[in-house]
Every structure is written in structure tokens, then in C-alpha cells.
Symmetry: C2
Subunit: 170 residues, 2 copies
């Protein structure tokens, strides 16, 4: 069983949180919600899905978790405006523990300057950002590069979730 | 009198459209709304402000306008997923005609690969994207670099609008 941090803010892409989180729990992993403020409820951009923030990101550290999930939507853009969230993500990437990022999730990895030389995918609107960040953008439903597993959009969720669960089982 | 194109999609930052558009019209400039689909009504993210799209971006070209305004919010992220919108913006930057970009507006300029060697500002969340794109990020309320005028957020609107109007009058 892994302790998986989900870093999340308002306007996340609902299914990119709900489906991986459900699959992780069904596989007996623990899901902990990190955000900008403990006790706050953040909401998804399509279905208004509520998520209660368990811990403020500034009160925790990468060492306390086994893996990190970054759902997409506009949540990553809000998180990366916060230096503590960026620092947490950078620590996670430096630790080489699994990082699962979908859609706009790589925006946080760009601001954390964690993508140089990496292979990944993401939502098409951030393709050029990923390339400028020194990474190789791959237009595939799931890209695995060391600790980093990435997908493009909700359509890719089945492949994304399969890869995340396999990584935690390995 | 200048013919000013506003390139805009859903979830734009309301005031970053309404305030410059009103100031442009009061100064007798013409404002034309370009979007992904002619006849569509797009809406702002805070106040649901409606904007009717006059022309689809694929049915027009930079040569038809004197200046370009790119409001922020999540509108630029939607526009830059469209290759025709990106091409239009690239043509505009290549033409050296005035481009006014605020908040998340530079996201479109990044995807158009139009920022190498330029000086500009933008919303703090896209700071690292701008740097990776080869530009110099300046944390000031208004940055003017040749044809390009940029600001960071709604708070900067007075300085932004002053600079845009002065550019059109010069």
C-alpha cells in the first residue's frame, strides 16, 4: 500500500481526479489531498466535484509520501503560482518517487524546472511549453519515463490509471 | 482610428477585455472580436460577460487589422490549442504591428514561438514558461518592447490601457 499525495486546487478537471483516486483506493492505496489551505474545499471545473484539502502543501514534504498525482484542468496553473507548491513538486521529482501527471499537470513540473531531458506528454495547449522546458513531447495516450507517468486528457484515463497502478505495484 | 482585433475565447478575464475595449472605443478605435467560431458568444470567467464573435480567426488574417489585443484568463489556453489562432498571432508578431497582451495572454505568443529575445511581463504563473521561451520576464505593471505591450493582471489595467492608447496614437 502506497501513500499517494494528490496536489489539487479549484477548477481541476473532475474525472482526472475522481477516476485515478477511486482506482487508487480500490487497490488499497491511501489518498491524501494537498492544497494551498488545509480544510478548504476545492471544486472541479465541469461537475463542481468537491475535494476537501487534508493538508496545506507548505506543512508537508515529499518525504512523507510514496507517490504524487497531479490532476489537470486549471488547478495546476493555480498551484504553480504558489512557491511552496512548486518546491514540493520539485522535491518529489528530485526524490525519484513516482509522479503521475495528466493534461495540464506538467505546468507544475515546468515551473519546478523538473523536465529538462525528460520524455512526456500532456494536453496539446501546453505542448510548446513542454518543448521549451527542454523535454521531448510525445503525442501518445501514456508515456512512462523513469518515475514519471503522463497522459494527455480524460480520454487517456484507462491507460493512465493502468500505468499508475502498475508503477505502485512494481 | 485603428482597427483592433481582440482574440478571445471562453473563460477570459472579464475586466481584461471590458476595460481596454471600452477605452479603445472611447478613443474612436474600432474593436473586432475574433474567435474560434463566428457568431458564437463566449463568456468571461468571473462575471460571465458575453462577447459575440464577429469573425472566425481562420477566415481572417493579420493584414486586415492595425493592432491585436489578447485578454487573459483561460481564454489564451483555449485559443492556443487551435493552429489557426496560433498562426494568426504569429503573423501579427511578424508584421511588427502593435500587440497588447495581459495576464495569461503571452501563452498564445509562446505557442506562436514569437517571444525569443523579447522583454515582457505576464501573470506570475506563466513566468517560467516565458523564460523557457527565450524571453526576459520583467515584473513591472507595464512593459513596452517594440510592438509588444504587456501587463500582469487586472490591477495593471490603468497603466496597460494608457500604454495601448499611446501606442495607437504614435
Amino acid at each position: 500500500m502506497a501513500k499517494v499525495a494528490v496536489i489539487i486546487a479549484d477548477l481541476f478537471e473532475d474525472s482526472e481526479y475522481t477516476e485515478p483516486a477511486e482506482a487508487l483506493r480500490q487497490a488499497s492505496h491511501e489518498v491524501i489531498h494537498l492544497g494551498l489551505q488545509a480544510g478548504q474545499t476545492v471544486r472541479g471545473k465541469k461537475n463542481n466535484t468537491p475535494v476537501a484539502i487534508d493538508l496545506a502543501v507548505q506543512d508537508t514534504r515529499a518525504a512523507d509520501f510514496d507517490a504524487l498525482l497531479i490532476p489537470g484542468g486549471y488547478s495546476p496553473d493555480k498551484l504553480r503560482a504558489d512557491p511552496q507548491a512548486v518546491k514540493f513538486v520539485r522535491q518529489f521529482m528530485q526524490s525519484n518517487k513516482p509522479v503521475f501527471s495528466i493534461c495540464h499537470g506538467p505546468q507544475l513540473l515546468i515551473t519546478a524546472k523538473s523536465l529538462e531531458g525528460r520524455r512526456l506528454t500532456g494536453w496539446k495547449s501546453i505542448r510548446q511549453d513542454i518543448i521549451y522546458a527542454g523535454a521531448n513531447f510525445i503525442d501518445e495516450e501514456m508515456v512512462e519515463d523513469g518515475n514519471l507517468i503522463t497522459s494527455r486528457s480524460p480520454k487517456d484515463l484507462p491507460a493512465f490509471i493502468r500505468a499508475c497502478l502498475a508503477k505502485l505495484a512494481s
